[in-house]
């Protein structure tokens, strides 16, 4: 109580108002710098997370020939399925932008799903130890893609909501930070494919 009295006496009203204004300006400045840095960090984490997605897409890409070769050993006449997988795979190889990669990887996913349906008709194939192993690896990779995709979308959501919100939206426009695109999964791709043994 005594402190307040001393404070009021030693400071003139004009000084106090000035201090408060400076204080507000400093706070606004800090929040702008913080907002900008935050934007940069979030943008970087979207990129980093997309890198994780790409790694897993690549891992799947590399596993396809093995799977196809094994299935062909038992079901060589299912040419249509093999063709659709080959098409999707080469489309993925040619994809450069995020949108193209998303579309191509969804195509690969549905082609592989069809392959697994075909597999159900070949009990000998399902009993093959090597095939067994490949399917575990494939469904593991599919699940990794789903996980990294989820984390990518989370990162995009964090970033986008920051970009669109006031006052960061002013900074985002000033420095050219636009919203990023989500990785929309193909319908029914939320669950990793499983073959029942």
């Amino acid at each position: 109580m005594g402190g307040r009295g001393v404070f009021a006496i030693t400071m003139k009203k004009g000084t106090i108002v000035l201090l408060v204004i400076i204080g507000i300006l400093v706070l606004v400045g800090i929040s702008f710098v913080g907002g900008y840095n935050n934007l940069v960090t979030l943008n970087e984490s979207v990129d980093a997370q997309w890198g994780q997605v790409e790694n897993q897409l690549q891992a799947r890409y590399d596993k396809i020939p093995n799977i196809v070769a094994t299935v062909q050993g038992y079901a060589s006449h299912e040419k249509e399925v093999f063709q659709s997988i080959a098409d999707a795979r080469s489309r993925l190889a040619g994809a450069t932008t995020v949108d193209e990669q998303v579309a191509a990887s969804n195509q690969v996913e549905s082609a592989l799903a069809r392959l697994l349906v075909v597999v159900e008709n070949y009990p000998n194939l399902k009993a093959d130890a090597q095939f067994n192993q490949l399917i575990y690896e494939l469904s593991g990779t599919e699940n990794r893609i789903a996980t990294e995709r989820m984390r990518y979308n989370q990162a995009v959501q964090d970033y986008n909501s920051r970009v669109k919100r006031f006052p960061t939206v002013l900074l985002a426009n000033m420095f050219g930070y636009g919203p990023r695109t989500y990785f929309e999964a193909a319908a029914g791709a939320e669950v990793a494919p499983q073959v029942q043994f």
Binding site: R4, F7, I16, L19, V20, G23, I24, V26, L27, I30, S31, Q52, Q56, N132, Q133, L134, Y136, E137, S139, G140, T141, N143, R144, I145, A146, T147, E148, M150, Q154, D158, S161, R162, R165, E190, V191, A192, Q194, Q196, F197
Partner: protein, 247 residues
């Protein structure tokens, strides 16, 4: 008064982030009450930890909240932070009663030593029958198989001298990079806050706190645990590696 409400709301929000908490003092978290003799399994996992530094949690749940077991496992793994941050050498064996499913989730750092097919085939051969026959020995054996493989591949984790090392939070690095700048910033902010409370009754601080509360911080929480011996909470993560099955 208003500020106190804000703080209370923040506290409540951070509580609801993690619905399922680890049972302190054990590696086996039998929420569905389906494991007999789980001290056998617990001490086997403790041996695994002492030999390799790998943290493993066995968790049974009555149901999966209408999610796939894969999603549930990834979330639980990240919530609990099994394994140390960046090393990510943790394992989670998740068993659900309804539906009867199981999953071994492998942390990022162990994916090299434990390929999906290896853990998948062993899960199917050892854990599945053990659960169906209500016999814990298959699960104990499973831990042994994983341990052998981790040691054989030379993929052990560092074993901390003191358990306190697990108290590191996920944002530790970002926060402690520049202590001097932090102190100056703190002093400036403290001064401003004092001025604000003196002349406006804390209006500005209240407004800022409010906007911060609305403005995200959606990824906080999760890795902070502080009850009992800290087995988890190291911030380890998994990326969907591992294998699932039915039992």
């Amino acid at each position: 008064m208003k500020n106190r409400t804000v703080i209370l709301v923040i506290l409540l929000l951070s509580l609801t982030v993690c619905a399922l908490s680890p049972i302190p003092g054990t590696n086996v978290h039998d929420f569905a009450n389906i494991l007999n003799n789980d001290y056998l399994l617990d001490s086997r996992i403790e041996t695994l930890y002492q030999k390799t530094g790998v943290e493993m949690a066995v968790v049974t749940v009555p149901d999966l909240d209408n999610q796939s077991i894969e999603k549930y496992a990834v979330k639980l793994f990240e919530d609990w932070g099994i394994g140390k941050k960046r090393e990510d050498k943790g394992l989670l064996l998740l068993i659900s009663l309804e539906p009867r499913e199981m999953r071994i989730e492998v942390g990022y750092g162990l994916e090299g030593a434990l390929p999906d097919s290896f853990v998948g085939i062993n899960l199917q051969q050892l854990v599945g029958p053990a659960l169906a026959n209500n016999d814990i020995s298959g699960l104990v054996e499973f831990v042994g198989v994983l341990e052998e493989r981790i040691i054989q591949q030379g993929d052990t984790a560092t074993i901390p001298d003191s358990q306190n090392i697990n108290n590191i939070t996920r944002y530790e690095d970002e926060e402690s990079r520049n202590p001097l700048g932090g102190i100056i910033l703190f002093v400036v902010i403290a001064l401003l806050v004092i001025l604000d409370f003196r002349f406006t009754g804390g209006m500005i601080v209240g407004a800022i706190l409010n906007s911060m509360l609305r403005g995200g911080s959606s990824r906080s929480g999760g890795s902070r645990k502080s009850s009992g011996r800290n087995r988890y909470g190291g911030g380890g993560r998994s990326g969907g590696g591992g294998a699932s099955g039915k039992w």
